[in-house]
């Protein structure tokens, strides 16, 4: 149960602690003979350096915190964005030798936990995922002076990687317009998130440029909110002939509402989503959507954080998008 220490290895190898430390840390100024001795002792004892001692001595750590602003439980727990982002970020950071500590920050108390944890020096940097506009966390973390990035633009002006939400929405709406649709509605994401606001803006401005009016239902990026939003839209304006859902999950919900209401897609109502998650390929009919791979965005965010560690300035990155036409529009 008790693991061997560096001193034990030194004793076993008959050399000083310093030499063992050098070998273990891959320094080159060690005689091959000593190196050999140490390596053998390490292997025989199964020595692995104690992480706490090391980071106490070096005042460094190789862990980063990935903070996901989790809604108070109840909302969809099978969010593909969560999965894609966390997985990709982990992969990239791990291959750079960093450990990922995942923290959910929905409530005030969990936010306090996060702050304490970061302040305790457990991590070298922080990544923020899916922050809502009003969240006080970014600001208080920023005050501590750690390298920090955001997945998706957030308030507070920290380095981020995002896609062109406004532009993507605009492309979606313009496509609908080009197809001859005249009453185009939208289902938005939660309006306290900048991505939602931007997508709504893209929708609104594109429509306004052609003199058409907006028809808006507010959702929260979940399937069920897309379903409910669509039902409400249908009630508000039974004559609508297209809908732009601010993400694919809500588009899936909308599709179901449309099906239940007996509307044919795309004949009666065209549907366009956003994100191009894998599920978009499996809907009936397959979903036309704006593609902007979350995996790429996540990887870029991780790399941005990594670059901060080497002193880079942290210039924001905007990922490209493109329209993927399938059968729903």
């Amino acid at each position: 149960m008790k693991r061997p220490t560096l001193a034990a290895v030194a004793a076993r190898a008959g050399v000083s602690k310093s030499s063992v430390s050098r070998v273990v840390n891959g320094e080159t100024t060690v005689t091959p003979a000593i190196r050999e001795l140490v390596i053998r002792a390490v292997r025989e004892l199964g020595y692995v350096p104690n992480g706490a001692a090391r980071s106490l001595a070096t005042q460094r750590t190789n862990a980063v915190a990935v903070i996901v602003s989790d809604p108070p439980k109840g909302l969809s727990s099978d969010d593909p964005m969560f999965s894609a982002v966390v997985r990709t970020v982990s992969r990239v950071l791990e291959s750079a030798g960093m450990q990922v500590t995942l923290m959910l920050a929905g409530s005030a108390e969990s936010r306090l936990r996060v702050e304490q944890f970061v302040a305790a020096g457990h991590v070298a940097g922080v990544m923020l995922v899916s922050m809502h506009g009003a969240d006080p966390l970014p600001a208080s973390l920023a005050r501590m002076g750690f390298p920090m990035v955001a997945f998706g633009r957030s308030s507070g002006g920290l380095p981020y990687v995002d896609n062109d939400n406004t532009g993507g929405a605009s492309v979606a709406v313009r496509y609908l317009l080009d197809q001859g649709r005249r009453r185009i509605a939208t289902i938005t994401g939660p309006l306290d998130m900048i991505a939602s606001q931007d997508r709504l803006t893209g929708y609104r401005e594109t429509l306004r440029d052609t003199g058409r009016r907006s028809i808006v239902a507010i959702g929260d990026f979940t399937r069920v909110s897309g379903y409910e939003g669509m039902r409400q839209l249908l009630e508000d304006d039974p004559a609508l002939d297209a809908v732009f859902a601010a993400n694919d999950l809500m588009a899936i919900g909308a599709l179901r509402a449309l099906r239940e209401a007996g509307r044919r897609v795309p004949d009666d109502v065209a549907v366009v989503g956003f994100d191009d998650i894998e599920a978009a390929l499996y809907t009936a009919p397959p979903l036309t959507t704006i593609r902007s791979p979350m995996e790429d965005q996540a990887a870029a965010t991780a790399e941005l954080l990594l670059s901060l560690f080497t002193g880079a300035p942290g210039t924001p990155v905007i990922m490209p998008h493109r329209l993927v036409v399938r059968e729903s529009a």
Copy 2:
């Protein structure tokens, strides 16, 4: 940038380090006057104890590793199971005051990383998620003697929480039989996973009891494998009238293949899935499936690990399931 230390707080408050330590750790044997002094100093300085120093001194840590056996990248990254499990586990562990360190362990090198990390004493316990049968990781970790649990039964005999895979599959097939289906196929999960094997066993045995023969396609729990599996099944036995997919994701893939082949669900072919993920409610038609909430299973797994810390024996837990009938069968 430099954070205040315990000694700084002691100096500021005019008391000894010991007293500060006592107050910070909530010991009750401190005079109110001193406690007050310390608390004020802590607040004024914004003191937060250094985690590395603390865990070096106490030889303890409040972090646990959640190890997900991630397939070498390329497979579906929006796995709802990943999302539900990681999220739920984080929530439960965090509210018990534990930190979650997420580690992906797909390749041999990442497995080594995991071993080193655990051996370095960074964590108090380990949770294994979605282990494949041949994975050597559980055994080597077990040798280190840390509390350890598995989400889903795995080889190696460690404490686990699972659902009744065999029984669930059996219920699904029996339901299909009761509906008068006669040629019932299945699409399996990856056969190196015990859950897949068990679901296949449940399917096989139930069918065999009624003298019918199995029609099997091998999948890997992804949508695309369900799609391809279904196409192959259709080719192998065009007269099949039902399919049991070993999870909902593959059922969704199968639904698409069926649609493209012009088969009507459930009229021509009935489909039953497994898991009852949220997406099952949004397919066309909505999916009949075996419900066994992953969130509950994940929470139970986290609690099992927590119980191990208090010396409990770690008795395996089997979660209940039930058939949810919708329109696909």
